[in-house]
Amino acid sequence: MLKPSQQIVIDIYQDDSSFARSVVDELKRLRIARRIRLRSAADWHPDLSLLHPTIVVSAALETRFLQALDCPHQLLVLPRETDQQESLKWHGDVLPWPSSVGLTLQRVQLMATSFNTMRQLHAVRKSLILHTQRVEREHELVEHIFRNALSRNFTNYEHIRTLLTPASKFNGDLCLVAPGPLGNLYVLMADFTGHGLAPATGALPLSQAFFAMADRSVSVAEMVVEFNYRLNRLLPNDMFCACFLLELSANGERLSYWNGGMPPALVFGQDGVVKHRLKAQHMALGVLSVDDFDSQVATIRTQATDAIALFTDGVIEMLSQKREFLGMEALEHLIQTYPGRDDFQSLVTELENFRGTQPLHDDLSLAILQCCPTGLASPEYGDEVQALPFTFQTTLDAEDLRQVDVVTSVLGVLGRLPALHGHRTTIYLLLAEVFNNALEHGLLGLDSRMKSDPEGFAYYYQLRTERLQALQSGSISIEVRFDQRQNYLRISVSNTGVPWEPDQPISTTRLSQPYGRGLDLLQQLADDLRWTDNGRKVSFGYHLASR
């Protein structure tokens, strides 16, 4: 008849009356718990936070028993003769004593069970609160990182309009805009599988690579190869990234794009009539290995009045009030109705009206870029660079000339100086012309006229290589002087070879002649060009501010 109790500890508060002692003795005999802790009833009060299932045994119904209890899951044992109406005012359970063994065990069990359930519920609730707090903190952290990662995003470029609406806190869509140093503009629209935090994390490496490569003006094809490589290594197999990447040339006339798994971008004219649908020709990023990946880019011509609409499938698969998809046709129709750059807000309003109160099922992104000249070209370096005057001098003997790529080496040093960096291409050209003259004509005895046809051209450079390898004597000296006050560079190159007579500059009638152009460039780009020592020494100046 007696079940061994599952309950480990039960606390009993008792008032030390003979009634209480007999009740406690009986409860002990019934082994209601493995351990019974006895407490004085004087220590009990209604706000007690209980550690174990609790029984209160009292010979009389005291007024403090009638107050609201912090924990109602406790059992009060009173003499059977206590006023029943009064004892019902106790917020917990009441057991009139004496009571049958069965009823006693049942009531104790019931009390213990509800107490334990309550305890568990409290514990779960507490851990949920902690969990929620932790998630919120982590979301804040991630949001902060995203904000910083995308702080360079040039979405306020004056010729682009965007609508970016995530379905949850984090956006699995990505719309990135960045200017290139040539005045060109890059726009990337990407859609990771799924939405929420998981896909958004893929946005970090993608955006970092995008901005870094845009700064270097890397081509679209090379960009997507790098993106694919990164995402392929990073993303789990069931995750990938549809992506549309475009580059608009500085004059707005040439648009190169790569579309991997995105809906067709729409190129439309002033009247809203769609001229091109730039459909996906490739798999999404992160699917194919480096070897299988196809970075083939397509190019279209655009006019200043053209615009291109990029969007994720969230737009065309948006559900209406009647749970119907928007679809491509309806989107094209909307664009045709609102083609102007000032119509974008109306277009957004139409889309919102269509959706009504229907919740978003996917992230939704739409960007419309006007294909006009970007007006973004920027100077490479500021002019206000502090500089020191210097002289650089080197003399190269036959062995040096055989082994060193001289002009590249000199520019490798000088081109790093802030004052010269923005002019390195021109300085390279000027130095290359006079150095090659000294080497090819002075030391190697080559004749430029050989270069007049393509075969001769290649043969000339083959001879140059052969003769250079066989060169045993002779040297070339280079001197570069920089006057920082005049912002002026003076370069002299001399050789120990044979005298040489410079050609006449080529005339416009010989425009397409493939040689003799070097002198022409020297005369036009350099200042105060002087030949001395029978053509063995040449010197010229170059104004750094003249660009």
């Binding site: 890397v218 040339s249 397509a298 923005g422 393509p454 416009t508 660009r547």
Partner: protein, 101 residues
Amino acid sequence: MSITRHVSNDGKELTIAVHGKFDFGLVHEFRRAYSSIGDEKPTIYIDLRETEYLDSSALGMLLNMRKAVSDNVKGIHIINSRPEVKTILDISRFDKLFTIE
């Protein structure tokens, strides 16, 4: 990888990009890049965005290319030149021989 070459899917565009230094060191590689251009009469784009250095031999190579392919292409465009490179092309009056963007 100083020269990269891309042909569009329809064969109508051939893009040749020159990276770093453009001079006679690339004479064979550059010729190879335009040696097979297909029958589509493509437009050739010479992409100079990553061309940091060039000299007159590069200009000679461009002219040789023009001579070799001009009957079989729709046009030759030189694109994405940095301002300094653009100045050099302008001085050489390449705008009369190529489309410079």
